[in-house]
Amino acid sequence: MTAHPLNFDRRVAAGLGDEGLQKSLSALKGSFVAARGRAVLALPEFEALRDDGKAIKDHTLANLDAYLETYEAAVIARGGHVHWARDAAEARDIVRAICKQAGARTVTKGKSMVSEEIELNAALEADGLEVVETDAGEYILQLGREMPSHIVMPTVHKTTEQIADLFQKHHAAHGFPDRTLDAAELIGQVRSVLRGKYFKADVGITGANFLVAETGSNIIVTNEGNGDLTSTLARVHIVTTGIEKVVPTLEDLSVMLRLLARSALGSEITSYTTLSTGPRRPGDLDGPEAYHVVLIDNGRANMLSGHFREMLRCIRCGACMNHCPVYMSVGGHAYGSVYPGPMGAVLTPMISGHEAAGELPHACTLNGRCQSVCPVKIPLPDLLRRLRHEQWEQKLVSGTVRFGISAWAWLALRPRLYRATTSLAMRVLGRLGRSKGAFRWLPLASGWTDGRDLPAPEGLTFSELWARRQQR
């Protein structure tokens, strides 16, 4: 993933100042958070299901090499091909080579966050291929040349008006010259434009929500059905996915699917749940002639050992960001990564390095709401704190913060000096602030006082008052 051109503060300011985004985020809060809450209430065993999901992923990750080999053997046995990519560049080259070998000119794509991660579209377009995103959200982003701002609802930052403008500009050539704000008409336009592309496509690329080791299947869940058309109508189906997506059995899959739709959308299941297992067999009515899976590491294997393995349980439901008050304040683009929100704040530094994503682990209050809704119980706050620790150890934390924390800790380890210093400071602040009760401004405290008053201290510290009480 390439680093974002704007720095974090500028991206945050842009998010906070974007009225359309703020409106969309409020709507998201009202709809998906409430829907998830209802879905969880309606399923008394949801907590037990979370434990099951966590256990399935933990077991798989502890034996990942074995399950990946089982999966690979199962794919090959059914006539498919498995490719292993160490990083994004290798993954892109593998997909490019398959497209070239197939003599492809048009490529359709189902929604795949991994393909965003490895920046696949740009590479294919550079080879002269026509690349068409078929998920309505991704299609809109492709027209607008934008990054997704949410892993499940990639266009959550866009208003209907903005989409209407975009379609008017691009769809006139397809016989839709008039601007419309009607959602059904907008979707109708997408369908009409894409219909021809599905049949024209030489290669269809999808991601995978899960891989099943025992059968060699990849699973995609969609509500639009675009993934099925992408994977079955093209001559060649390529799956781009991360190595952590594998689960052992179909039974394990059913647990994960029950968790995923409820956590992501608040629904019991998505409209389409599609298992693809190998290419078209003799006698099959449809399906691709060739079936390729590109298993991508890109930093994941490094997470297997050590403190960050738990992050590999992530099933990309987006519940963490839907429930994150920081994400809901600034929107996904502020994170400058295809993976925003709490899961993105952990994953992005793991994939792109601390230098590229240094601020992300810090821009969090560690309030823990993400962890409380995570379907596989990833301790996101602990992992974010652990990333801060790595940055502290590698001296990547800003000098001001480093000095401030170190100086304060030095004082805190000298209780007598601490008491003398703080009681003097509180006396002064108390005297200055008592008449009004709070400060509107204080030197060096603009971080606090730009947006809120600073309540004044009483003047005497508890420790002084307690000592007086003991003397009486």
């Binding site: 304040s329 309030n367 704190r385 934390v397 380890l413 209780p415 509180m426 009760g437 709070a438 809120r452």
Partner: protein
């Protein structure tokens, strides 16, 4: 005795000693900014029959260092706390955040150091947040205090999610004469304080606290209560900046009948 002992001791749960020796973990913010909360805690504990001491060498739990990634400093401060608070029956503090650090984070800090890990676990096992200590360990309901107001309660994140404090303050506050509790929308969503977060990312923090104070406002409550001074300072500061007259108190001040002075951020009454 000024407390009604509730016969709610769960079967099999260890019974608290009759007059336990309790160390008050004042917390650095209460010590420096609002000692009244500390004395309210002392009153509630003494009324419940505790012998309360406030060890003089106490400073802070070390959470700012821990959450900034400076685990080495956090460990040294944790060792200081473990030593200072050795030997008491219980350690009790008026903050879910600081007490969660002691209960949950100290053992994790020493995961590679068996000797200190044992000490950290031992301290964690007898350390409690004030309100949940009264309800869940001592099983007492404080003597009735009074406050004529409609109030809403903000759930601070660490207390809520690390220590499971949700119903306990509401139960105790429901006994306060004249106090009507109303729930705000998203009472369990972070107020944007987050320790150093609030000054490192002031724009995000102010947006979050603005969402929070809008929810407070929408209830029509004239009083906002909570169990963590950090969050209360943040919300009181924003309310005041917006020109609101909402009075903000720590729940312990109300329960102890010590909420008659100026609220957090409020000017002293002048005769």
């Amino acid at each position: 005795m000024t407390v009604q002992t509730v016969n709610a001791i769960a079967a099999g749960a260890p019974k608290a000693p009759a007059n336990p020796r309790v160390a008050l973990f004042v917390t650095c913010l209460v010590d420096l900014i609002r000692p009244n909360i500390g004395f309210a805690a002392v009153k509630l504990l003494e009324d419940a029959g505790c012998r309360v001491e406030a060890p003089r060498a106490q400073v802070c739990c070390g959470q700012p260092a821990y959450n900034s990634g400076d685990f080495a400093s956090a460990r040294r401060i944790a060792q200081q706390v473990i030593t200072t608070f050795a030997g008491f029956d219980y350690v009790v503090g008026p903050s879910g955040s600081c007490m969660a650090t002691i209960r949950k984070d100290y053992p994790a800090l020493f995961e590679d150091d068996a000797a200190w890990r044992d000490k950290a676990n031992e301290l964690a096992g007898r350390s409690f947040e004030l309100i949940s200590f009264l309800t869940d360990v001592l099983h007492v309901t404080p003597a009735t205090s009074a406050m004529n107001a409609t109030a809403t309660y903000h759930d601070s994140c660490s207390g809520l999610r690390s220590l499971g404090i949700k119903q306990q303050p509401r139960d105790l506050l429901s006994n306060v004469t004249g106090l009507k509790l109303v729930e705000m929308q998203d009472s369990d969503v972070c107020c944007g304080f987050g320790g150093t977060f609030c000054v490192k990312y002031p724009e995000i923090s102010v947006k979050m606290v603005s969402d929070k104070t809008a929810n407070v406002d929408a209830t029509g409550a004239s009083v906002l209560l909570g169990g963590d001074l950090g969050c209360l300072l943040n919300m009181a500061g924003r309310l005041k900046r917006l020109g609101k007259t909402t009075r903000v108190y720590h729940a312990a001040e109300v329960l102890a009948g010590m909420a008659n002075g100026p609220a957090i951020g409020e000017a002293e009454d002048r005769p």
